[in-house]
């Protein structure tokens, strides 16, 4: 357990090499569901980042206290508690965002990105590495969701962050804000992302 981790690499891997959405294709449910606008993507990304960070911290701290056979239920309870806390805090203090994301917040619980990081990283590494891992992965997720949301919003509604840049009556690709558009946009963005990142790495 004493292997030394390059923290810079540890942070960057979540954003580029192991980007949860474009490379590992994790957490597809919120990715496809909420990204009909850039703002929704950003909000969902930040909420997930927070839950991921908190659960990674807690799991990393108590990892030796959890018997192996019950580790998954234990992680799920921890994650679900933080999700519920996020939901209550959002409703109380940022009602605007709560209205937008309301039904998707409970879905963070089953976002396999969070459970995946708890299981494969935080339960095996120390606190600092886990925090940095969560920040990298979380930011990678925020970036991916915002990019996907922005693409769909630009093509589908002709606006970005709710600022319209075409006339009210202009025709847009409505397909892109409907569910099939999510799949199409995600596929093309993944191709572009991987093309660029592979070129950079080699």
């Amino acid at each position: 357990m004493t292997k030394i981790i390059d923290q810079k690499q540890n942070f960057l891997k979540g954003i580029i090499k192991e980007n949860p959405v474009f490379v590992m294709l994790l957490g597809m449910c919120p990715t496809l569901g909420v990204t009909s606008s850039a703002l929704n993507g950003l909000g969902m990304g930040i909420a997930t980042l927070f839950v991921l960070l908190m659960s990674n911290i807690v799991v990393s701290l108590i990892k030796t206290q959890i018997p192996n056979k019950v580790r998954i239920p234990a992680y799920i309870i921890i994650i679900a508690s933080f999700v519920t806390i996020v939901e209550m805090v959002l409703e109380a203090f940022i009602p605007f965002l709560y209205e937008q994301l309301g039904i998707f917040i409970p879905l963070i619980v089953v976002n396999c990105l969070i459970l995946g990081r708890s299981e494969s990283f935080a339960s095996k590494n120390n606190l600092l590495s886990s925090i940095i891992d969560a920040l990298g992965m979380g930011l990678g997720f925020v970036f991916a969701l915002t990019a996907l949301g922005a693409t769909r919003e630009i093509l589908g509604s002709g606006s970005i962050f709710e600022m319209k840049f075409i006339s009210e009556d202009a025709n847009t690709f409505i397909l892109f804000i409907l569910p099939p558009g999510a799949f199409i946009a995600l596929a093309y963005l993944s191709v572009i992302f991987n093309k660029i990142s592979i070129k950079k790495l080699s």
Partner: protein
Amino acid sequence: MPKKESTFINMVLTLTIITIIAGFSLGFVDDLTKGPKAKARLERKINALQLVLPKFDNNPVTEKKLIKSDQVKDSIEIYTAFFNNEYVGSAIVSSSNNGFSGLIKIMVGFNPKGEIQNIVVLEQKETPGLGTKMKDEKFIQQFREKDPASFNLKVEKDGGDVDAITGATITSRAFGEATQLASDEFNKNK
């Protein structure tokens, strides 16, 4: 530190302790956010009331009337507004479950003549960029100063007078339905 072994007693103890801690922290946060949550909800309601009603000086929230209806799950809420003790209008919270993604909840303000003053959307889950256009001025303005007795609240496709949102006929239909329900309740409870 070595990992705890997966004996029966260890597993039961660990899960019990984790759930207890989780339960207590949730209770604590719930207590903490209860006040602000209620406040945020009330503020939203008062904002909506100010948007749909003419100027009023009473507190319609305290004079709320609830009416049960088989058409909607939640009861319909009626708020009456007075200015200098004179009746200036009512706001009715009504809803329809036939939106593209389920519930649409709106507040409709009527003046004493029974004309629609304004409509505010309170809750909706419609497709962003399509169904959500029902909040836009372009859609709402056609309802203003219309009396539902003479203005048919069905969409043009169904033989009504409502100019539906392009690509969101289902949303427009549900919106009209909720408005109709509000108008019916208004007339019943004058």
